[in-house]
């Protein structure tokens, strides 16, 4: 028995070394076998994190899913005299937002935190992996990564953690070119991404899953507390999706009432003249024309710092 265990442990050590070395080789050479995620690579989220690491104090901070980074145009708010930043990432749920804000809120010191809330990100069926992979592949190694790892114990996340750590330790991210155009996405500035996709892709949808993940609700409450302790005003915003997708939602009323019970909340669906095929490029995402209309409305809803003090906790 003892020889077996001894050799088994030696073999495990060898495996660990081989595993780490080969991930290192893949990270350096950018070899991406047909695995189901990419190791760290240039991405629009990488550009957002690069800007975030250089960002200073901000007035307005936006957080949320792809609705957020494709919706809140930081140029609009900057032109109104506010310094804004959009920390939205793909499929970001409140649990991810909480992990990010734990790290960044103190350095950003926003006056108003705008949380984009989207029913699907509160669903039990929400895939947490996409957001985790997207964040970890694009940020430098940070202590909050352990929260992401614990959130979804997936081997792919572990692989990515190893790859990110190696990349940072070796300083390989310095040489990564981050092009502002990625396929049909154009990174504008301070987290805002515009799509150059033409036309509208119709998608089938069976409505938002109705089972709410209360861990997400608790995370949102924690975000509100985290901000309030620091004297930061918070508002929750649900951004418009296509009318056909919105009509398919099964639990919108209860979602509205849940959000209202947590913080000042506005649902912008149906509040402005948007046409599915003109202002969206798919069921979920605004195109630049749609984003322009929505940002004008959002600016009005947000109002002035005097209003924040009055209306938003």
């Amino acid at each position: 028995m003892a020889p077996f265990l001894k050799r088994f442990v030696s073999f495990l050590l060898l495996c660990t070394v081989v595993y780490v070395l080969l991930i290192g080789v893949m990270t350096k050479t950018n070899i991406h076998p047909p695995i189901h995620h990419n190791l760290p690579a240039a991405n629009i989220t990488g550009l957002m994190f690069r800007d975030l690491h250089q960002a200073k104090k901000t007035d307005l901070l936006f957080v949320g899913s792809s609705h957020s980074y494709r919706g809140f145009d930081t140029r609009v708010y900057d032109s109104l005299g506010w310094n804004s930043f959009n920390m939205g990432t793909s499929s970001q749920t409140p649990r991810h937002t909480l992990a990010l804000l734990d790290t960044w809120l103190d350095s950003m010191q926003p006056q108003l935190l705008v949380c984009e809330v989207y029913p699907a990100t509160f669903s039990l069926e929400m895939d947490l992996l996409e957001a985790n992979l997207n964040i970890m592949a694009n940020d430098k190694w940070q202590p909050y990564f352990k929260d992401l790892l614990l959130m979804d114990a997936d081997l792919r996340l572990f692989n990515l953690t190893v790859a990110t750590r190696i990349r940072n330790l070796m300083g390989w991210e310095q040489g990564m070119s981050l092009d502002t155009v990625m396929g049909t996405d154009q990174y504008i500035r301070k987290g805002y991404v515009e799509s150059t996709r033409k036309g509208f892709t119709k998608e089938l949808h069976d409505g938002t899953p109705s089972d709410v993940d209360f861990k997400q609700v608790e995370a949102l409450k924690s975000i509100v507390r985290l901000a309030q302790i620091r004297g930061i005003h918070v508002m929750l915003l649900q951004l418009p999706v296509t009318a056909s997708l919105y009509a398919s939602y099964k639990n919108q009323e209860s979602f509205d009432s849940l959000m209202n019970s947590i913080a000042p909340y506005q649902n912008l669906n149906g509040r402005m003249e948007l046409v599915d095929t003109i202002h969206f490029y798919d069921s979920n995402h605004l195109n630049p024309a749609g984003a322009a209309i929505v940002n004008a409305a959002v600016a009005e809803v947000i109002g002035t710092p005097a209003k924040w003090k009055k209306d938003y906790r």
Binding site: P3, F4, L14, L155, N159
Partner: protein, 481 residues
Amino acid sequence: MLFNSTAFLFFLPAVFLLYWFVCNRSVFSQNILILVASYFFYGWWSWKFMGLLLLSTVMDYVYGFGVASANQRKARFFLWLSIINNLGILALFKYYDFFASSLQHGLQQLGIQADMPLLNLALPIGISFYTFHGMSYVFDIYRKKQVPVSGFTDYAVFVSFFPLLVAGPIERAHHLLPQVQRGRQFSYSQAVSGCRLMLWGLFKKVVIADNLGGIADIAFEQYNAFNGISLLIGVVAFAFQIYGDFSGYSDMALGIARLFGFELLSNFRFPYFSRNLGEFWRRWHISLSGWFRDYLYIPLGGSRRGSLITWRNTLVVFLVSGLWHGASWNFIVWGGLHAAGFLMLMVLPGKASDYNDVVAAKSRFPMFGELTGMLFTFSFVAFAWVFFRAPDLAVAVDYLENMLRSLLLNPEANLHQIYGKSALLYILPLVMADWYFRHDERELKVPGKSRWVRWLFYALLIFLIGMFKYADSSRFIYFQF
């Protein structure tokens, strides 16, 4: 709990260490540990069905004593009681809704309106496997191949031993029970060979089967959108997916059992190198084929009562085997197709029982005749898999129709294409490894004496498993049966 899940990564070493370090003083304590671990393993999926497993175990344990009676009438009574109970459990959980809805549909076709109540029960995982274990025990006692075991723990371990509990191999009482009852010593070579088997099984499941499953799923779910070549690729991908998935599971089961000092029945012997359908069924899901041969085909008269009875028995075995896989008409058609193929083989010159040796036994490559036989057999088996994989008969027929129409009549149709390169990437290593090791039981022994070379190869396999892992714990196809 799945063999490819994170939970199992902690479960297995914990049980292994307790087994050899804490419970190594007596067989009884080792068996108790295995029993507790097996119920924990099963309960991880659903604790509610642990009661059903226990009930099935207790029933067959008790019936075993009755069947052993010298009084023939009493023995026969308990034998039938066991059959009725086991098949009753299966009928209730697995088949009732299928037969009720089929009857309702049939009556509606005749213009009779009938509203059959459906139970909509969840199918307990592994039910087809552990009920067959129980029946094998009672049958073996009835045929005087086995005496009833006195210790309930021993019998319960035989039924619920966790490596084979949910997807086999379907063990025989006379093979496994003696191993449960006798003392087990740790064997270095057995443990190492178990680790090799587990690693190869995991590789086949995670790297090959799960990734081919992605290709097959796209083809079968959107078969209207793809051209004939793509649908053909989908069928081949599924053929290797199910082989990698199920043989991978079986290898892991055998490997895990070896870690605890047990030898389980082999379930696969390179089935896609079979030169005819008869050989295929001696190499595919061997433990089930053997079960049906011993407990259904032979009691029905086997091949000893003339051609007609032999054909009838063959047909019955294949149809029942189809139904065993699932309560659905497409499984019955799948069984029927294999029956038809087998019967044709029986009337053709040369017997279905030919080819007991390994293909290209004394050469590196197969002879032309062997190669043709292998390709023909694989094509037939893959064709039948369409009925196995499709959600219902209509989809299977549509799938085949779309594939053949596109291939034969309109190959340039403006349809999407699945590229075969990615499927080949997964299929080729499996075929090459199987061909290389076809003379032996699969164990993936790397040739050469240098331990470092062997270890580096195994470490590379582990790296590939880590890189190609599709999801945290994708289920095994045979869990649904």
